[in-house]
């Protein structure tokens, strides 16, 4: 049985193998199981017939590229230092640096932000995966529209932003003249398609994601598109800007203590006020683990999984969705995880995270972002 709807998942900085999204999917499944709509679902895989998860990876491009740099620098190793001019010596020393974890972290953000060829490769991979999946799944099934969602986490929010904007605004069918070929083969159909659909079937007038979920949004710090995230097409459709938006509803999930999203913080009210009806930015301040930036930690919160399931899982009824909101208000969802039962532990954890929050706007750069990632990792390990 084909799954109902599709959610593309785009990861953040760091190493992500093919199974990187399993934790997140499991967290969503566990949340779904606690609602009446899933009482009869397969408890091992409650979302199995509901949502097709499509995790997209791109960090292998960064890794392969850093390996290439490393190999280039390594060619000088057989020569001794005395034989090398000083600039070459510096380059040669770099080969040892490329294996360091910091460089791998730094590499992801810097290679993406600073090198057009790299980001073209990354963005095209993401766009190709999305486009092919939509084409193969189709836009409707037995009279029901298939719903598509995109979830980006951390650097993945920037990649999602840039990819969705380009997917929606690039005239893909102009270059290869596919429409002209079609007009030659079937003149009437070709002309009709050219008139009604145009040169991009993924443009907002032809296709719209039901929802975009940005988790710990970094897009204002790292975006690479001609339009910044406050003015690009990656926003919810509203009555005033018909057919210029890539999604029906836009969620900006930002934990109060997550330092990553505070660098060039994305604020819905700054972005689209007063037309913010289709955008939501719920307050998140739960604490279940030291690294509140983790995607799975975000997904524990009913304000986060509620909309994801509400938009994409058919068995998650509107009553279930309302129940998710209520669980925060009525305390059924505890703000503190089991490991933070004591007041002193909470205060300690909060203080450690508060220390990482950027102090001023001059702090808002990629260097600070990397420092925050390292500190979060340290917190996790401690």
């Amino acid at each position: 049985m084909p799954k109902s709807n599709v959610l593309f998942l785009i990861h953040g900085i760091g190493n992500h193998s093919d199974g990187w999204a399993l934790d997140a999917i499991k967290t969503l499944g566990n949340a779904a199981k606690s609602y009446p709509g899933f009482a009869n679902a397969n408890q091992e895989d409650p979302l199995g017939d509901e949502i097709e998860f499509v995790p997209i990876t791109y960090n292998e491009i960064f890794d392969a590229l850093l390996e290439r740099f490393k190999d280039l620098a390594a060619q000088f190793e057989p020569l001794n230092d005395a034989q090398l001019p000083s600039p070459i010596k510096k380059i040669e020393k770099l080969s040892g640096e490329f294996d360091k974890e910091t460089v791998r972290y730094l590499g992801d953000a810097i290679l993406y932000r600073g090198f057009r060829l790299v980001r073209n490769t990354v963005l095209l991979k993401v766009m190709a995966t999305i486009a092919r999946k939509i084409q193969s799944t189709g836009l409707s099934r037995d009279g029901t529209p298939v719903k598509y969602g995109v979830l980006g986490h951390s650097l993945g929010t920037t990649v999602a932003h840039d990819a969705l904007h380009l997917l929606a605004t690039t005239p893909w069918l102009q270059a290869d003249d596919a429409l002209a070929k079609l007009k030659q083969l079937t003149p009437e159909l070709g002309q009709n398609l050219a008139d009604r659909v145009g040169n991009n079937p993924f443009s907002p007038k032809n296709f719209m994601f039901d929802a975009v979920f940005m988790v710990s949004n970094t897009s204002r710090l790292l975006f690479t598109t001609d339009e910044d995230p406050y003015h690009s097409t990656v926003r919810p459709v509203g009555p005033g800007d018909m057919k210029q938006a890539v999604c029906g509803t836009f969620y900006n999930f930002d934990h109060r203590l997550d330092p990553v999203s505070k660098l060039c913080k994305f604020r819905i009210h700054d972005a689209w006020r007063p037309d913010v009806e289709g955008a939501q930015e719920p307050t998140l301040d739960h604490l279940y683990e030291p690294n509140v930036h983790n995607l799975s930690h975000y997904l524990l919160h009913p304000y986060v999984y509620g909309p994801i399931l509400g938009h994409l899982a058919p068995s998650f009824s509107r009553a279930d969705w309302r129940e998710a909101w209520n669980r925060v208000d009525n305390g059924k969802f505890s703000r503190w995880g089991p490991e933070y039962s004591s007041e002193s532990l909470r205060k300690k954890a909060e203080a450690a995270l508060t220390k990482l929050l950027p102090k001023s706007s001059s702090d808002e750069n990629i260097g600070k972002l990397i420092a925050i990632y390292e500190s979060l990792k340290d917190l996790e390990e401690a």
Binding site: L65, Q75, F115
Partner: protein, 348 residues
């Protein structure tokens, strides 16, 4: 006769089987997560048999006209014409005329309590939850009985959205092919082509900035201050033959790719060499084919020309698998041979 009867029977059975399988997937979800009522005259179940053949023949205009006619018929039964209906019909007309897109008819879920249709002229809100003011209990049947006109709009919007999805589907494949092609091209250039130093990567990215993503991936690459290890050889006479490890730097050059997989290329560069022995810097040109490069340089204080062979060229000559080891052994070996050769000549 028997054969014809069997064929008719088989055809009839096939038609029944297809119809049954299609029926099994009925009751799709409409707005607010509600299941559609198959008895509604604008439900997919009710119109499928008429709409599907039109879609199969790619007669989309015919399908839209049919839906519009059925919608008008349903609204006539309601005998009501609110601003919602006026706006919706205007949007339908705009859509038929090609001035608005299909996403006008996409239901937008705004949280658990409402779905919306965002039309040009106005937003039509479909309340999903209990609402004492409107007398709604969050159940489809109550909504449909209280707001039959808006219910018709909801069904018609869904039909147009589904039918127009079929039309757009025609171009999703060609567009996905173009994106795939560009993705493969950039990946090939980046990871299979001539490896770039970071500053070359940056410069080429700046140059390629002129190319938009929908255009084919460029088939060239600029070489810029590219250092590499090689060997320089000169042989003005047998006695004076020299071979030394050398650092070559290509201040400027280019590479032209010959295939769409970016695995083959040729190119040329200016070349500056700095040998490990004290013969001064060499100036010349370098030609490149795939990983192999040969250059010719001239040095100020030395007669004759030097040949520069890049690292990978030596790899080919010696058929060594490990590039690092090969170069290391080669440099040491050549130097030793030359020294021995010189000693032999001197002793003679």
């Amino acid at each position: 006769m028997m054969k014809a009867t069997s064929l008719r029977l088989a055809t009839a059975l096939f038609v029944i089987a297809v119809a049954a399988s299609a029926g099994a997937a009925e009751n799709p979800i409409i707005w607010c997560g509600w299941q559609a009522d198959p008895a509604h005259p604008l439900s997919w179940a009710a119109v499928r048999n008429e709409v599907q053949p039109l879609l199969a023949n790619k007669n989309y205009r015919g399908a839209y006209q049919l839906i519009l006619a059925k919608y008008r018929q349903a609204q006539e039964a309601v005998r009501e014409r609110t601003p919602n209906a006026v706006s919706f019909e205007a949007e339908l007309q705009d859509f038929m005329g090609g001035t608005t897109g299909r996403t006008s008819f996409q239901f937008i879920d705004r949280g658990p309590n409402e779905s919306q249709l965002l039309l040009k002229a106005k937003t039509i809100t479909f309340p999903c939850g209990p609402d004492t003011k409107l007398g709604l209990d969050g159940v489809y049947a109550t909504f449909a009985s209280k707001f039959p006109e808006q219910t018709n709009i909801g069904y018609a919007a869904n039909l147009i959205f589904v039918a127009s999805g079929d039309e757009v589907q025609n171009l999703l494949g060609p567009a996905a092919d173009v994106i795939d092609n560009r993705a493969t091209g950039y990946r090939g250039l980046l990871l299979d082509g001539l490896p770039m130093w970071p500053w070359e990567l940056y410069l080429n990215g700046r140059l390629f900035g002129m190319h938009s993503l929908e255009s084919p991936v460029p088939k060239y690459q600029v070489v810029f201050f590219r250092p590499s290890v090689g060997m320089e050889i000169t042989w003005p006479s047998q006695e004076e033959a020299k071979a030394e490890a050398s650092i070559g730097v290509e201040p400027i050059g280019f590479v032209r790719y010959t295939g769409s997989d970016y695995k083959n290329w040729w190119g040329a560069s200016a070349l500056v060499t700095l040998g490990t022995a004290d013969h001064g810097a060499g100036l010349g040109v370098l030609g490149r084919y795939n990983n192999y490069a040969v250059g010719v340089t001239k040095r100020k204080n030395t007669d004759g020309v030097f040949m520069f062979f890049s690292y990978d060229f030596y790899d080919l000559v010696n058929n060594k698998e490990k590039r690092d080891k090969a170069a290391d052994e080669l440099l040491g070996g050549l130097r030793k041979n030359l020294e021995e050769g010189k000693k032999q000549l001197e002793s003679k």
